[in-house]
């Protein structure tokens, strides 16, 4: 029996790997991001599956990738990088509001997310159905709430347990 951990966006990867390491069983971790995890991060016997879709617009992902790359570059160990990061933070503090608050215009992005989420859900669902035919799935544990619709669509008709961690 296979246990599935779903984490489309890998921002809670620490929580996922800590749980999988502590929980006996054969675990397959399904990730959607290109970054954040490699096979080395998994416990022995764990399997990593990468999806091609994500519930995040490509522009947002590229922006996040660029930000990560710049930060990685600045934190490589030079004092110049450290001072540059501090300088950028000070500038941001001066120009950005203390708290950006809730932006109702975010609804536009929400609509885009919905369309992407449908594709993402379909890809997860298709993977789970296919995997279940090869090796029965015992449970699905969700670490990213954007993967929950797919988990429920797959597991509820079959009476399989789904939990959020």
């Amino acid at each position: 029996m296979t246990h599935i951990a779903l984490i489309g966006q890998t921002l809670r990867m620490n929580d996922c790997t800590a749980f999988v390491r502590q929980t006996p069983g054969s675990w397959t971790i399904v990730v959607g991001d290109r970054h954040g995890i490699t096979q080395d991060d998994l416990p022995p016997g764990g399997e990593l599956v990468r999806l091609s879709s994500a519930p995040v617009p490509t522009g947002s992902r590229l922006k996040a990738d660029l930000r990560r790359s710049v930060l990685r570059l600045m934190r490589r160990g030079s004092s110049l990088g450290r001072h540059a990061e501090n300088g950028l933070r000070r500038v941001k503090r001066l120009v950005a509001p203390a708290d950006p608050g809730y932006d109702p215009m975010g609804r536009m992005a929400g609509t885009a997310n919905e369309a992407l989420l449908t594709t993402h859900t379909e890809e997860i669902l298709s993977f789970l159905e296919c995997r279940h035919q090869q090796a029965p799935i015992a449970e699905v544990v969700v670490f990213d709430l954007f993967d929950l619709p797919a988990a429920l669509a797959f597991a509820q008709p079959k009476g399989l347990p789904v939990s959020v961690r």
């Binding site: 749980f19 501090n86 809730y102 975010g106 989420l117 709430l145 954007f146 619709p149 347990p161 959020v164």
Partner: protein
């Protein structure tokens, strides 16, 4: 008495440091006979914008069919997952927490005599309208001065102070920050400090004399002063003791910088990074170090320094608000409390001075003073008095 503690920070397997002080408070209350349940609204990062209805609908569906699957429970701790879009802001986060806490109460409605929220924004705002029970709020976030620059958040804090049964901060410096930002309404804010677990911190029997084993405990982030710490250690090695070592316990974004920068300075064998360790492993490091050096410019309480002093390890700490009001009056017994504008050279010099005059320190006396202020019995008793004042 039944108390519902709601806190976004509470230790877990993945985040062993998060909210250790909240857990200590919970344990102290239990020892005093209080029945405490803990609710932890957890941030599930989401893309910018509104959370799609498929996600919120799925969460409601799971909560209604199987509450324990949606809201995982470990003993008396219930985790409440909340999708938080990026750039939503602290008040937006409060609304997201409120929505999920409301869902949890719809499917599993416990009753309590007191609700105790940790952090005004987001948690206090999130729970304010959810229960008829008296609301006690403890504020201890180091981001508070920055948050209070925002007009909407200042208004939220004023409302919280007026509507809560008691509003507490963990140090005098945080209370002063609130009075400065919010005006007279904040003068009713009380100070109830963090608990220091003296049982877990037995006093060391030896007395550090050569001050060559430096220790840092905390997040490895620039705002904690770890860049300056590495600079100060480098100067100490060059000018005072080429055999000195620096151990860092904790994790954070500065970890790669420290690793690479220490290697570039030829200090890779002298600088050890242990990563984030469970809190129970920290006393061992405190008891084997010669000096704890902490250069963060702002701390609401500064628990690492207090724990070091309790263990009998001298401290060299930059004045950071918390340190001054928590143990500033006994700093000459514990080590050095440095000016805010101290330089890396000044830090290295301060450690060298301590090494030259260790006899001026009296850490046993310092421990006794701290125990009279921050032990579980003292602080737990203060909280119990506050609850009792407001329970109907």
């Amino acid at each position: 008495m039944r108390v519902n503690v709601v806190t976004p920070w509470y230790p877990s397997a993945a985040h062993p440091y998060s909210g250790v002080f909240v857990r200590q408070q919970v344990e102290a209350l239990r020892r005093l006979g209080v029945d405490v349940e803990v609710e932890v609204p957890e941030v599930f990062p989401a893309p910018e914008g509104t959370v799609p209805p498929q996600v919120t609908g799925a969460m409601s569906s799971l909560a209604e069919s199987d509450p324990r699957a949606a809201f995982r429970r470990d003993g008396s701790v219930t985790r409440v997952p909340a999708p938080i879009p990026s750039r939503i802001g602290a008040l937006g986060r409060a609304r997201a927490f409120e929505e999920l806490l409301r869902l949890r109460r719809r499917v599993d409605a416990p009753s309590f005599d007191v609700t105790h929220a940790h952090l005004g924004v987001p948690t206090g705002v999130a729970v304010m309208g959810l229960s008829e029970a008296p609301l006690v709020i403890t504020e201890h976030q180091s981001a508070l001065p920055r948050l209070l620059e925002d007009k909407g958040i200042r208004q939220a804090y004023r409302t919280l102070i007026e509507r809560s049964a008691a509003f507490l901060t963990v140090s005098g410096t945080l209370r002063e920050t609130m009075i400065e930002a919010l005006g007279p309404v904040a003068t009713g804010v009380e100070v109830v400090p963090n608990i220091v677990d003296f049982d877990a911190l037995p006093p060391r029997t030896d007395r550090p004399t050569d001050f060559r084993k430096w220790l840092y405990v905390g997040t490895l982030a620039e705002h904690k002063g770890v860049g300056m710490l590495l600079d100060a250690f480098t100067r100490f090695v060059k000018r005072h003791d080429s055999g000195a070592s620096l151990t860092l316990v904790g994790d954070g974004p500065m970890r790669p910088y420290i690793q690479t920068s220490a290697a570039r300075r030829g200090l890779d064998r002298q600088v050890t990074l242990h990563g984030a360790l469970p809190h129970r492993d920290v006393p061992h490091h405190l008891a084997t170090a010669d000096v704890l050096v902490h250069l963060s410019p702002f701390e609401t309480f500064g628990i690492a320094a207090v724990e070091a002093i309790a263990t009998g390890t001298p401290v060299v700490v930059r004045e950071n608000g918390g340190s001054k009001t928590v143990w500033g009056d006994i700093s000459s017994k514990c080590g050095r409390l440095l000016d805010r504008d101290v330089t890396a050279d000044g830090v290295a010099e301060a450690v060298a001075q301590l090494r030259d005059h260790p006899d001026l320190l009296d850490l046993r006396a310092a421990r006794q003073v701290l125990a009279s202020r921050f032990s579980a019995e003292i602080v737990g008793g203060q909280l119990l008095d506050i609850y009792a004042r407001h329970v109907r």
